[in-house]
């Protein structure tokens, strides 16, 4: 009793699979009497950050005793070593005895032992290369820039060599969508839509981001439930931002790369330059003091003159950096609040009156123990 069963994935993988019975020891070609087993479920999982796991179910007719099942995947990018082959029924009496790999073929052969003649459903899991994925977002910002509708899209492109007639695609955050996907085909699917997500608009002056001292306009989304998000960590991806123009249509206002954002963190999106807010930096004091040998301190005053030409008051955030050991001096002024983010970084918030009325931020600090 050594019937030979074959199901193969030649060429148009996943579509045509063959179960066949043949003589095991023929000299040249294997004679196959083939039937086509129904493929009951295909699942493509993207929950690993850079691997794609495919699972499929097949019902295979087994004879009592020893059965040989061939599996081949010519032309597809299956990772041979990753293949897991199991009976779906965890209490199945069917045993998989060994796996053999022929030379130079994208194929393997299982030796399966069955207590009786039966149809057994198996699940086949493997990693498949060259199924590309991409996340992107579309944000529709309300006219008052206080909230937005945030759409999360998942795009897949199939270069794996396989074809998926109908499969459940599962994203990293567990969303499932059913689609067919041909070789070379791409699909973009809306996987999440969050309405009324709170939005903070910030004007930021940061010379690390704009060496010319331009003011950046940022939208900040907090990935928390309170702010309307917080369901999943947000994947890295491009965010296209549109704004409701109040006339029933939207206008494209910019795009940025959204960085990977764990739950609780901020996603900061730069939508462009705020040209109506100008910052001019002048060094008012730059003295050396307290010399000891080759060691000295500095006394420095940086003055930022800010003009907001908008019709309404605005708040500007200045992210300033000083290297080494330093202390801010008490006579610094012109801010509503400040926060020392870390040793090198300090953040000031400055209220800027409307219509170009200048306001000055005086940042007085001493750098200590330089040499």
């Amino acid at each position: 009793m050594n019937k030979r069963l074959i199901f193969s994935l030649a060429g148009a993988a996943l579509v045509a699979s063959v179960v066949g019975i043949s003589q095991p020891d023929t000299a040249e070609a294997r004679i196959k009497l083939a039937t086509l087993p129904d493929k009951e479920a295909v699942v493509v999982r993207f929950d690993h950050p850079n691997q794609v796991l495919v699972e499929e179910e097949r019902t295979i007719s087994l004879q009592k005793g020893l059965n040989t099942v061939d599996y081949s995947w010519a032309g597809t990018n299956i990772d041979k070593g990753s293949i897991v082959f199991r009976a779906v029924d965890v209490n199945s009496k069917v045993e998989i005895l060994s796996t053999s790999y022929p030379p130079g073929e994208a194929a393997l052969t299982w030796s399966i032992s069955s207590p009786d003649a039966r149809s057994e459903k198996f699940r086949l899991s493997y990693l498949m290369a060259n199924i590309q994925r991409e996340t992107d977002y579309r944000a529709i910002v309300s006219n008052d820039e206080k909230s937005l509708t945030f759409r999360h899209y998942f795009k897949i492109r199939n270069w794996s060599g396989g074809t998926f007639d109908s499969a459940d695609f599962i994203t990293r955050d567990g969303k499932t969508f059913e689609k067919g996907l041909d070789q070379g085909e791409a699909k973009r699917v809306l996987v999440n839509k969050w309405e009324k997500v709170s939005l903070t608009k910030e004007y930021v002056y940061d010379q690390y981001r704009s060496s010319e001292g331009k003011v950046m306009t940022d939208y900040v989304l907090k990935n928390t439930k309170e702010m309307g998000l917080g369901a999943i960590p947000l994947e890295y991806g491009k965010v296209r931002i549109y704004q409701d123009d109040g006339k029933g249509t939207t206008a494209f206002t910019g795009e940025d790369w959204g960085q990977f954002t764990p739950i609780g963190d901020d996603m900061r999106l730069n939508i462009g330059i705020a040209q109506d807010i100008k910052v001019e930096l002048k060094k008012m004091v730059n003295d050396v003091e307290n010399r000891r040998g080759n060691v000295y301190d500095t006394n420095e005053v940086d003055e930022y003159e800010i003009k907001n030409f908008k019709d309404s008051e605005a708040e500007l955030i200045l992210v300033l950096r000083v290297q080494g050991e330093w202390e801010m001096q008490k006579d610094s002024e012109g801010y509503t609040s400040y926060e020392r983010i870390d040793n090198e970084t300090i953040k000031f918030k400055v209220k800027c009156p409307a219509k170009g009325t200048p306001i000055k931020l005086k940042f007085h600090y001493k750098r200590l123990n330089n040499w």
Binding site: D47, L53, K93, I96, S111, P262, N294, V295, G324
Partner: protein
């Protein structure tokens, strides 16, 4: 389970009994010979994974006539080390009756030898021919299915035998040696004509190992149904020997994977680690178990091999977690599988303050020593719905003092570590101060 393969005849090793070539000392003038081809009765492979080395012992039953018998053994297109081929009668009777008088290596072929065997009691005797070959190897692989809560893993170990030796070994009993042996010359080099310079390995070493082994048992068929073969493991000196139950046929070019063991429900621990020495600079999720009895393992060392971990994604479905090229894991050793950074548990570190003090000048008022005081804040957040364990290693350089109100402990001269449990959905901030003496302030 045989596929046709073309080299089968071409590469076949042959043992020929030249029936008409009766004259013992006659030079090989005539090339016409009538020969019989005795079949192999049994074959046993002992495969090493640290070197490209396999000891083959095959037994054949030959009929000997009174006087001298010439036996030709050839191995065209295989990877046999000619210096290792040996002929030995099996059993007391055979040992009394037959003896190898000489071995000649004909000039016209580098892949052939002829034994002259004298016989004083004509009969059929069993003989054993043994030799080293290269081209057969084995490797270990592991597959683990982690349950949804990450508390247990079902672990399956496999061994895969790869045959690229040029020869098909039919119905061979197979033994696999785990361990690192010492060879002075590579068998694959010795298999090349003209390359042989001497014996590669003391045969005694292998034989000692062989003697300690039982014969392979056939697979158990209680209810007439085949079960996955049992692979028995036994320790020997610095080695471990896996004996595959029954016999295997592995055609040339093929590989065959067999289950070595399967253990369900190995208790698993999840630890988030920042350990740059072992897992790089990222805060990574590490799944841990131990190769000991408490973890339902520990019966044998785990040879090096690729470990693939899948997670139970519900309804029997799998999700890929990660793979690790595992090193040899002795009994009682810990296994740590780095499955990469996990957004559900994060760590951020920042330096909140830097101060310099205790400045020292030399007679020319040049700074020669100072001390820095740096404060750091580490924020660990657990977004998961379960408690997690966290271990952080923090290395410093130079002559430093480390201070913290958190319970850090010394790991080595330059490293402090802290281990704690972080409740589901909570966060913890750690503060530490590192004081480093530089220049003449340094006592190191």
């Amino acid at each position: 389970m045989h596929r046709p393969f073309n080299q089968r005849e071409k590469n076949k090793m042959r043992l020929l009994l030249p029936i008409l070539a009766l004259l013992m000392a006659a030079p090989l003038v005539a090339k016409e010979e009538l020969v019989t081809l005795p079949e192999r009765d049994s074959v046993q492979l002992t495969i090493y994974n640290s070197e490209d080395l396999t000891l083959v012992r095959e037994r054949r039953r030959l009929t000997f006539k009174q006087g001298d018998n010439r036996i030709q053994f050839s191995w065209a297109n295989t990877l046999i080390d000619p210096t290792s081929v040996e002929f030995e009668p099996v059993g007391d009777e055979a040992k009394k009756a037959i003896e190898v008088r000489d071995t000649s290596y004909p000039a016209e072929s580098h892949e052939m030898l002829i034994w002259t065997v004298s016989c004083n009691q004509p009969a059929g005797y069993e003989v054993q021919i043994s030799y080293f070959t290269s081209g057969i190897s084995w490797s270990a692989e592991y597959s683990g299915i982690v349950d949804a809560t990450e508390d247990n893993v079902d672990l399956t170990a496999y061994v895969t035998v790869h045959n690229h030796s040029g020869e098909e070994y039919e119905n061979a009993s197979v033994r696999l040696v785990v361990g690192v042996i010492h060879l002075v010359e590579r068998i694959v080099d010795l298999a090349q004509p003209g390359e042989s310079t001497g014996r590669a390995w003391r045969r005694g070493d292998v034989e000692e190992m062989e003697r300690a082994l039982e014969d392979a048992k056939d697979e158990v068929n209680e209810d007439g149904m085949a079960r996955p073969k049992e692979i028995q493991k036994a320790g020997l000196s610095e080695y471990y020997i896996y004996t595959v139950g029954g016999t295997e046929t592995i055609p040339n070019g093929w590989s065959k994977r067999l289950r070595s063991f399967e253990v369900k429900g190995v208790p698993l621990k999840t630890v988030y680690r920042l350990e740059p020495d072992k897992f790089g600079w990222a805060f990574t999720k590490v799944l841990e178990f131990k190769n000991d009895e408490e973890h339902k393992l520990g019966k044998e060392p785990l040879p090096d091999g690729l470990l693939r971990l899948y997670r139970d994604a519900g309804e029997g479905r799998l999700s890929f977690m990660g793979a690790l090229a595992s090193k040899y894991i002795p009994k009682n050793e810990e296994v740590k599988v780095n499955v990469g950074p996990d957004a559900e548990c994060t760590l951020k570190e920042k330096r909140t303050s830097l101060k310099k003090k205790d400045l020292v000048f030399n007679q020319w008022s040049q700074l020669v020593g100072y001390t820095t005081v740096e404060m750091f804040e580490l924020e660990v957040k657990n977004f998961r719905a379960r408690d997690v364990e966290v271990e952080i290693h923090r290395s410093m350089a130079g002559d430093f003092d480390f201070a913290s109100e958190d319970k850090w402990e010394k790991h080595d001269a330059d490293t402090q570590k802290i281990h704690f449990t972080l409740k589901a959905g909570s966060e913890r901030k750690l503060a530490l101060t590192v004081t480093t003496r530089q220049g003449t302030n340094s006592r190191k």
